[in-house]
């Protein structure tokens, strides 16, 4: 009897499990998958078929070379016409230097060393592409690793930020902001063609500097506890500009706005909500490209906690007269891995790795298509528009072992393919193109 019960249960269970497993599987591009996989290990023969004819491999190589040369000549001529003096687009920060150049197929590949006088963290181009702001500290002393291999980074090292440097593309210093800087944010380009720069210190104070490094405004600490860990320093700051002169920043109340013209009048644009936990805080901010709405990440800790992406419309005026804003509409629950927010060009989708949440209540899980980037290792990810009008996502991953802990920088294309552009890197950025001020 028991055996019959078991058989019956097995039949029901098999049906139930099959139903459970019948998840909708997104359509795939089988040809692309096959092409990519087959490319890893070419077929056993040294030749391929072309319209039924077997063509020797050497002929393919010659044909490819000829095609590449012709394509290169054409592309070169076109590029020269479009941009006679190309400017390097990638700035890469590492534990021991700052690099400039074009992203290549390898780490630090083809990049020019711009500065080697210390460690550099989280570089960001100014919106007009003329300056680079980067947190600077003493060099991180490497510890010996395997002979012939890269040195290991001490697992327990502390990164010390001694100042914020604002550099010209030739590596010279335009100005410096001394002190333990926790984060900074460039404003969109203003009427004078330049951008303001907001700097937050480790004590939570905010200073607003003009293009010459002169202080034009600021705010005292507003009850925000700043995480001084290396990982937190790598994250986008909890500062973001809503317009060329209105700065939004996270504080104990939620998100506040400060107009540089009247810094004493603060507006609370998003509250924390009555159901907020005692440790809940705003850990990341991002304003839509048109400046009309805000996405915020709320979590009980800066890194590694589960949190929530919220969405809120921004008021039209930031003169302190508005009532405290709403708590923000919940868009998506997110996992501990998510630490940064970045709106996409469409103003509808916000990247909170590994989710692409939209203001329409949907969220899509993202993953690197080639498996090079492990979703769970991502510390921060943000999107940049590049010269050809497409977008790239810059990703920082963490590697941690018992005697080594370091970060790497990756560049991910829209199809999810990723290239590691910097090893033992502490962040990177691409020079902005048409849309200014969307930096995280």
């Amino acid at each position: 009897m028991a055996e019959m019960d078991m058989d019956a249960f097995e039949a029901r269970f098999a049906e139930r499990l099959a139903t459970y497993a019948a998840i909708p599987v997104a359509p795939i591009d089988a040809d692309s998958i096959a092409h990519e996989v087959v490319g890893v290990r070419p077929g056993p023969r040294g030749s391929l078929r072309l319209v039924g004819l077997r063509v020797p491999a050497v002929a393919w190589v010659l044909l490819a070379l000829a095609t590449a040369v012709a394509a290169g000549l054409i592309a070169g001529a076109l590029l020269h016409r479009l941009a006679p003096t190309p400017r390097p687009s990638l700035v890469l920060a590492t534990e021991t230097g700052l690099y400039l150049g074009e992203p290549g197929e390898g780490t630090q590949s083809g990049l020019t060393l711009l500065r080697d006088d210390g460690s550099f963290i989280g570089p960001r181009w100014s919106p007009n592409g003329t300056l680079i702001a980067v947190i600077h500290g003493p060099p991180i002393p490497p510890q010996p690793g395997t002979e012939g291999a890269l040195p290991l980074t001490p697992a327990l090292y502390r990164l010390v930020a001694t100042d914020l440097l604002v550099l010209r593309p030739d590596g010279t210093t335009a100005f410096a902001f001394p002190g333990a800087v926790a984060g900074f944010a460039w404003a969109p380009i203003g009427a004078d063609g330049a951008s303001l720069l907001a700097v937050q210190t480790a004590s939570g104070e905010i200073a607003v500097l003009d293009a010459g490094g002169r202080r034009v405004g600021g705010s005292g600490a507003r009850g925000l506890e700043i995480d001084r860990s290396l990982e937190a320093t790598l994250l986008p700051p909890r500062l973001v500009w809503a317009s060329p002169t209105v700065l939004l920043f996270a504080d104990a109340r939620g998100v506040s706005a400060m107009d540089v013209a009247s810094p004493d009048k603060l507006t609370t644009v998003v509250g924390m909500g009555s159901d907020a936990g005692p440790d809940d805080r705003v850990t990341a901010l991002a304003v839509t490209p048109d400046g009309s709405a805000l996405a915020l990440l709320v979590a009980p800790c800066d890194t590694g906690c589960d949190g929530e992406v919220r969405f809120a419309r921004l008021p039209r005026e930031f003169d302190g007269s508005a009532e405290p804003g709403p708590d923000g509409r919940s868009l998506a629950a997110i996992v501990g891995a998510a630490t940064s927010l970045s709106w996409q060009d469409d103003g509808e989708h916000v990247l909170a790795w590994p989710l692409l949440a939209s203001s329409g209540d949907r969220a899509t899980r993202l993953a690197a298509s080639d498996g090079a980037v492990d979703t769970r290792d991502v510390v921060a990810a943000w999107t940049r528009r590049v010269a050809d009008g497409s977008s790239r996502t810059l990703v920082v991953t963490r590697f941690s072992a018992f005697n080594d802990r370091h970060f790497d920088a990756w560049l991910m294309a829209a199809d999810g393919s990723a290239t590691r552009i910097g090893e033992r890197s502490l962040g990177a950025d691409l020079r902005p193109t048409s849309r200014a001020g969307s930096a995280p």
Binding site: D5, M6, D7, F9, E10, A11, R12, F13, A14, R16, L17, A18, Y20, A21, A22, I23, P24, V25, A26, I28, A30, D31, I33, A34, H35, V37, V38, V40, R41, P42, G43, P44, R45, G304, D306, E308, S330, A332, A333, I334, V335, G336, A337, P354, L355, D361, A363, T364, R365, A367, S369, D370, G371, T375, R376
Partner: protein, 190 residues
Amino acid sequence: MVSVPANDVGLPSEGLVERAARGDEAAFSRIVRLHHADMTRVAFVVCGDPGLAEEAVAAAWPIAWRRLSSLREPDRLRPWLCSVAANEARQIIRSRRRRAVMEIPVPDMGGGVMVDHGGRAMDPALRAADLDLANALARLAPDDRALLALRYVAGLNSTELGRALGMSASGTRARLARLLERLRQELDDG
């Protein structure tokens, strides 16, 4: 007797395997097209997360390509691919445990439209039963979930299960019986 999915994709997989093993990209592409969804579903039962299942299958394809020539029975392509996917899913879930990072499936977010683990809008009554099963599966070891997935989703017999999981056929049957008994009690299936 339990009915399990048949090894029938409606196309002659034998020729495909031979051609793909000789390096024919078009044949391999067809294999991908035919079996990707099944592999994803098997991996999903092991991982409990559609995103991780996709990761597992993405990792499984290069392995399948490299080892395709070792498949001696081309007509068993589907169960073989499913076992590769299940194995990758087990590796991913183990790696995930080591990192001690918890992921919350997107559909579990508060508010919004109620959807199931696969993102489908869902009847709340069905959701409860689905969650019971998901919870019961979550309490099992990844190896046990792989065993269930390969048996009841991919349709492997006990001999194939043994090969896939490195066990004897009799050992596989005994383990499956123990698992079913445990699930019967946990699911309180009348």
